[in-house]
Amino acid sequence: MTTDTPPETLVTQEMEDAKGNWESETVSPPVSESDIRKWAIATYWPEKPPEIYWNEDYAKTTRFGGLIAPQDFNPFAWPIERQIPAGRATPQGAGVGTRGMNGGQTDTYGVPMKPGDVITTRARLKDWNERQTRLGLTLFQEREVEWRNQNDEVVKTRLSIGIRY
């Protein structure tokens, strides 16, 4: 059934229940040289990416002592099982509150990812605020994500803003 009455809020009980609670951890497959190379090629397209991402002989001469991954490299891409975080919109949209957009993020980086690393992540819905914008009723959700490697070293922490409207 459809209705022309806009919702009074986009905040759901699922979000209230999830607020502040770390979700279950996810462990990545080992980071591979091939995935790093492909990431670098895609993000530098159509130009050649820096050698630190694909030339082991060169990378050995740097302070890293070998290949590293670009700092935005995502080892969690292509999971077998897919999880949908609390409050996530469907980007293609089907009405008020179902459309989504990336509002921004701040990443703080620790040690770089290298081939063979296994990354563990956890995330939580931290907070939100809701207001009228040019898009109508709009919900801004703050999400915190933490990545650590197999040595329990912090790879990065992220605070991101997801937008629903």
Binding site: W39, R63, P70, D72, Q92, G104, Q105, L135
Partner: protein, 146 residues
Amino acid sequence: MSYNISFEDIEVGQEIDTWSRTTDFMNWNRFAAVNDEFVFIHMDDEAGRAALNEQGAFGMGNLRYTYLLNMLRDWAGDEAEIRELGVQYRGINQKDDVLTCKGTVTDKKVENGENLVYLDIKVVNEADDNTCPGHAIVVLPSKVTA
């Protein structure tokens, strides 16, 4: 070893080397492939319009973030460390936009033995609209300790 720039070479107010790409489905699809980011609004004009972008499909915010990292890495070199990067996605990356990443040094200081450089950064389109303002902190090597 790529030793592009040292802490002593940096002056507040200095603009760093820009980094630019013309963006269309060739860039977006490659990024979608590696980041597993196959979302209709980035692939299909009808879905883009349904999401209230009249021109149709539009680019990923995450790709602009990547471009900013690429600018910082290419400028600072492989002996530098990008410590922090924060952005806001304020504008849409339309198909065939020419995106240019820019950065300006706002501060430099030594803390806990680290040579920190602070920058305002942004991604502008061909109309010079700032689609993605942000900030970055980069740790640079020193000529003194090199």
